[in-house]
């Protein structure tokens, strides 16, 4: 079972979206398309560092104007990979700082920015 990092609901390993909150709970590898758990550093399908597709954060984006498509299997451009890495870094930092919350408190901010205070 996989635990949703957003709401902590337990999900079957076959699920890509949480059964409880509808958010994405896997990270697709941009090299091979393998669905990794969301905190994976290295891909379970090809062993490459996970630089993955974010696709959508929740179900609402599935019905928006931008259609969600399955991850592209194969090499992405350097620009696409950089953008995906940025999105994944955001996701990891968000989870690390704010847990499953989507908004942060001033204490979260002090931790986030305080680390790098010169």
């Amino acid at each position: 079972m996989n635990t949703c990092p957003h709401c902590n609901a337990l999900n079957a390993p076959t699920r890509h979206y949480c059964r409880n909150c509808g958010r994405l709970i896997v990270t697709f590898c941009c090299h091979c398309g393998f669905a990794n758990d969301i905190e994976a550093q290295y891909c379970g399908g090809c062993g490459e560092p996970v630089a993955a597709t974010d696709l959508s954060l929740d179900r609402s984006s599935k019905i928006g104007t931008t259609a969600v498509t399955p991850p592209t299997i194969g090499r992405l451009t350097a620009e696409e990979q950089a953008e995906l890495q940025r999105i994944n870094r955001h996701r990891r930092e968000t989870i690390a700082i704010g847990g499953s919350r989507t908004t942060l408190t001033q204490e979260d901010l002090d931790r986030l920015f305080g680390k790098e205070t010169k």
Binding site: R86, H90, E93, T94, I97, G98, R101, T102, T103, L104, T105, Q106, L109, L112, F113, G114, T117, K118
Partner: protein
């Protein structure tokens, strides 16, 4: 750095926030501050005045805080930028950090929090007691 030697720019479309922050900085020993009521005006003031410290709102007319921050960092200036906003969304905040914000204070803010953050960023802050 001494507050008295610091040129400060406040960029916020709320006159109440500007007034409150101005009074806060005055209490902390800063000289009169520069003020802008939107991002475009703030960016122009930044270019002409080269402030040491910018307090930057996120949501503003004409140019938002993220765009102003990006321009300041692209400009290469060593200006300290503190985002002061009611936007608490994790993605926006982390984006601001990645864009080079030095700190982020949520509204409503207190004088103590402003003083604490400025101290962390290297200003020699001495908080005066309210008279």
């Amino acid at each position: 750095m001494l507050p008295s030697e610091t040129k400060v720019l406040i960029v916020d479309d709320s006159v109440h926030v500007r007034l409150l922050l101005r009074a806060t900085l005055d209490k902390l020993g800063f000289p009169p501050v520069l003020q802008a009521a939107d991002g475009e005006e703030g960016w122009q003031l930044f270019l002409t005045e080269s402030p040491h410290l910018v307090f930057l709102d996120q949501i503003m007319p004409r140019m938002d805080g993220a765009e102003v921050l990006a321009r300041i960092r692209s400009h290469g200036a060593d200006t300290r930028v503190i985002v002061l906003s009611s936007v608490a969304g994790a993605e926006k905040i982390i984006h601001a950090k990645e864009m080079g914000a030095d700190h982020y204070i949520l509204k409503p803010f207190t004088r103590e929090k402003v003083a604490e953050v400025l101290s962390q960023l290297g200003w020699e802050i001495q908080v005066e007691a309210d008279s």
